[in-house]
Amino acid sequence: MAKVLVVTSGKGGVGKTTSTAALGAALAQTGQNVVVVDFDVGLRNLDLVMGAERRVVFDLINVIQGDAKLSQALIRDKRIETLSILPASQTRDKDALTAEGVARVMQELREKFDWVICDSPAGIERGAQLAMYHADYAIVVTNPEVSSVRDSDRIIGMLDSTTEKAKGGGKVEKHLLLTRYDPARAARGEMLRIEDVLEILSIPLLGIIPESEEVLRASNLGAPVTLSSPDSPPARAYAEAARRLEGEKLEVTVPTERKGLFARLFKGRN
């Protein structure tokens, strides 16, 4: 039975698209059939982050409106055979995303894949609501920073009230993914503490992704960071998070400052 997962946050720029690509690739690498779906109509980005932008012809809206079959719009990743992407439309407006249309496409995706990962747009409006509506699982992407935590709290409330699961008396299983975590700033006490974020949001922790220049490099190259630099700290953290999603019990490691001797020497004493 397919699992539908939404990657959501309320706030923009926290790492939803980065996380969708990285987790999708990590899950697909274990041989499972994965599709990542871009719900950010009008501002699609997932195709770029995944390096599939040159191959987009049809998109989610085309499928919803019946201009294309789902199979025509799905783009198979060139590196991982079991990974596909369903792009969002760049030109249409959000109203083209109808609730019935989304339901139909999600049903079809459930039949074809093991994991359906929906990359939510920012905000709490229609687009974000449609992205989460069919979810069994939610990954709430949060930065250790006040406005992000506040928006995540709002999103958690929506996951508990306006989803199909919630309306049927069930619950969307929620996980917290703390991203853009800066160990150096954390050590200086300049960031919200992990324990505090966890206590405030009180949903289980899926992983902590450190802030890293490897993420920028990955998006430049058009590859999920788990593929472009699999040994980097963010890639390892994403790979571990993917294993937890698959049910493995792995302890979450808190990223620490990995600056070598040179960096410390050059930073000087303080």
Binding site: R55, V57, T91, N220, L221
Partner: protein, 91 residues
Amino acid sequence: MSLFSSFFGRGNKTSAPVARDRLQILLAHERTGEASESDLLSKLHAEILEVIKKHIPVDQDKVQVKLDRGNSVSMLEIDIEVPQLKSSRRS
């Protein structure tokens, strides 16, 4: 610092040109606002399917026509998955 980082760090030096090239191809395409591409692919798909169907029973999902845009030329990828020819002839 820059000496050390170029020795020990793998900066973003090498990835930025890739990013620029990718954007140039993408934006050149997006600015022309091409809708004809999807028309072309739909027509090709329908016609190829017709031709194949004359000889082999295929499902329409098994015929895939996809595009890969390049800087000066694009690639059309046509993928046709046919059933085991021997067994389909017998039935």
